[in-house]
Symmetry: C2
Subunit: 142 residues, 2 copies
């Protein structure tokens, strides 16, 4: 089984891109996180390791991680983005609070099955499919 680092390296080589120390650092910090990370949070942690890394490099690298399949980007309100790991992760879906943006991960085998059916019906590919259910979480109902 390839490590994430090997995957990124091989992707970069295939595109004649370089496996720089900044890219290594950013990947490492990203992998240390659980769940969904926003760029702001990533950037703060990265700066603890190497304060010279600029935010533009973080954005550029995260886009590379998405391209090579190691990360998925989610669009939040106000144009913010969050990223989550895709590789070595068990497949799961998301329950998102429409009020506070809280994300709960869940799995449901039967829903999985019907997702497949629906995608097939409409000619969608299933690679990297995921599902999000929106509602209001218990905290926001108070």
């Amino acid at each position: 089984m390839l490590t994430e680092s090997e995957i990124l390296k091989s992707f970069l080589q295939g595109s004649k891109l370089r496996f720089t120390t900044q890219r290594k650092t950013i990947l490492e910090v990203f992998l240390n996180n659980k769940g969904h990370v926003e760029v702001e949070g990533l950037f703060l942690e990265i700066q603890k390791i190497d304060p010279s890394i600029g935010i533009a490099t973080v954005y550029r690298t995260m886009n590379l991680l998405v391209e090579c399949g190691l990360a998925r980007e989610n669009v939040l309100s106000k144009g913010h983005k969050s990223f989550e790991k895709l590789y070595h992760q068990s497949h799961h879906d998301h329950l998102i609070c429409t009020q506070c943006n809280k994300i709960v991960e869940f799995e449901h085998p039967l829903i999985e099955k019907y997702q497949l059916e629906i995608c097939q019906t409409y000619g969608f590919t299933l690679s990297q499919h995921h599902m999000e259910i929106y509602g209001r979480c218990s905290d926001c109902q108070k």
Copy 2:
């Protein structure tokens, strides 16, 4: 059954806000659309009716429509927003292409049932819940 116009009016009165001609026009144009509309498209149509209406008013009014439950906002990539009607609509979910942002509406009674289960498990309310499945549409697979 209340009309959308009555709902908006009553919401505005309850908040000591005013039912202005601009708000009427914007609601009307919004209701004439099917499916998912972006602000840009709405604005163009609104200007055909009343060119003096500014885009700031469109944004402000769409936010009011969301607040009073007549519209739902979806966040697209690059910070774009789209709006869809919520009232007088049969419940449906969305299949969204991760590449071209195309949205297909669908219904699946069993998925509906499991959505409910999941929401209950995690303490989410079911009011205005909806589900989105992401994948790549047939056009984007070519």
